[in-house]
């Protein structure tokens, strides 16, 4: 029995081109979104970020004075899912940005449009 478990545990799991595990999960949605300023602190107004997993939109409000041309996005997604293109780089949010969430099994893709307005 132990040998059988051992053999099964050594099975080769598929990985994607980034070396991330491809799993059986097909859930595909974003759970959290934030933007950081040049000082690596959030620029978003607390409680104003809305993630609509049906309409596939994210709307957020940045604080007065935010240099929206230079912010760094990051988000949380459902287990095993990934985001394309990669977040965590300085991005200009004067126009809405699109990010695609890809499920753990890499079969489901949902493209979110992120729109950020700045307090005037």
């Amino acid at each position: 029995m132990l040998a059988l478990v051992g053999l099964l545990s050594c099975g080769k799991e598929p990985i994607d081109e980034s070396g991330l595990l491809i799993t059986g999960r097909n859930q595909c949605f974003m759970t959290f979104f934030d933007l950081l300023g040049s000082d690596h602190r959030t620029v978003l107004v607390s409680g104003q970020t809305v993630i609509d997993t049906t309409a596939l939109t994210v709307t957020a409000v940045a604080k007065f004075g935010t240099n929206i041309q230079r912010v760094k996005p990051y988000c949380s997604v459902v287990t095993d899912a990934i985001v394309e293109p990669t977040m965590g780089i300085w991005t200009d949010y004067t126009q809405p940005q699109k990010y695609t969430v890809v499920s753990g099994n890499r079969q489901v893709r949902k493209t979110y449009t992120v729109t950020v307005t700045v307090q005037k």
Binding site: G37, S38, D39, K63, F64, G65, R70, D92, Q119, K120
Partner: protein, 331 residues
């Protein structure tokens, strides 16, 4: 063949075991020295490098110490006549005078150890203040000491690169008064001074304090704003002819430079490399909401200078802010 190889290796092994572990009976030198560089930050003009030079003898008395720098230091360079010990009751370091006749002449500094029975081993501080002419150059030090028994020891330090940066501490900014900062001059001016001294083309940013701004009265606070920014300077009567230069300003909250802060306890330093390599893609021409210990990387509109502006303190009541600047000439 194999047998011969094994035999040779065995003999060699036994020889190494018997000879390799032998220790020579060496009589320690009666006069010995050691050196510790206490300063961890970059060597910047306006600050100093601190060394602790230790000297001890088991024969006779300590007499003199000498340090020779490859480049003469600025005013203040030389030995201190005091050693330090920690008071066991209070935990506070206490000075005790162990040397006298501390003299610096050109590149050479010297001191005479005071002839008392407790001075068989002392550690003296040597301070080196880099001069303007040392910027960008390498400097090293040769420390030496003598004893009454006629012996002399010396210690050659590694080489240290003197920073090309300029540093200016404690510039007091006041909203509506001393508010116009020139990175080229490392100075702050009033509107009248800018106009009278034809400095309108040299101002890189303006200091303002507004508790709130915007239609929603949003928190704003202490800010530095490039002359190009019309939004935040629209209620400021700027000096006549002020050039609308767009200085790139990138705020930071976690770069507590120990030299600009002027206190120990922080091990973060802006070095030449930071100012050389900092990039400003899509950087703003303002930074706001400053609190003490925060700051901003700044690049002048003409690309001549990169700088780090550190906020030492802010005062909402007097609408004032004290800053310190490290600056590097880029071209």
């Amino acid at each position: 063949m194999k047998t011969i190889t094994y035999s040779v290796l065995s003999v060699l092994g036994i020889w190494m075991l018997t000879t390799g572990c032998q220790t020579k009976d060496v009589t320690p030198d009666s006069l010995r020295n050691d050196l510790l560089k206490k300063t961890t930050g970059p060597a910047v003009v306006g600050d100093r490098i601190e060394f602790a030079y230790a000297l001890g003898t088991t024969e006779g008395d300590l007499q003199n110490v000498k340090a020779e720098a490859t480049i003469a230091g600025a005013t203040g360079t030389g030995f201190s006549g005091y050693s330090w010990y920690t008071n066991r009751n209070t935990g506070v370091d206490q000075p005790v005078q162990t040397a006298t006749d501390t003299v610096t002449n050109g590149t050479v500094s010297s001191a005479k150890i005071i002839d008392v029975a407790t001075n068989k081993a002392v550690t003296l501080r040597y301070y080196y203040y880099p001069g303007e002419d040392a910027k960008g150059k390498d400097v090293s030090f040769r420390f030496s000491g003598t004893s009454s028994s006629g012996k002399e020891v010396s210690y050659q330090s590694p080489t240290y690169r003197i920073s090309r940066m300029d540093m200016k501490r404690s510039l007091a900014l006041v909203d509506g008064a001393k508010a116009y900062v020139s990175i080229a001059d490392m100075a702050v001016y009033t509107k009248a001074e800018v106009e009278q001294n034809n400095l309108a083309s040299k101002i890189d940013f303006v200091y303002i304090y507004r508790a709130t701004l915007g239609t929603g009265n949003y928190a704003f606070g202490h800010a530095i704003v490039a002359p190009s920014n019309v939004d935040y300077l629209k209620d400021v009567t700027l000096p006549t002819g002020l050039a609308k230069t767009r200085t790139a300003i990138d705020k930071r909250v976690d770069v507590k430079d120990a030299q600009l802060r002027g206190t120990t306890g922080f091990d973060v330093y802006i070095d030449d490399l930071d100012l050389q390599q900092t990039t400003f893609p899509n950087a703003a021409d303002y930074a706001y909401g400053f609190a003490a210990d925060q700051g901003a990387f700044v690049k002048t509109a003409d690309g001549a200078y990169a700088a780090y502006v550190y906020v030492n303190s802010v005062n909402n009541g007097s609408k004032s802010m004290t800053i310190s600047i490290k600056r590097l000439k880029l071209n």
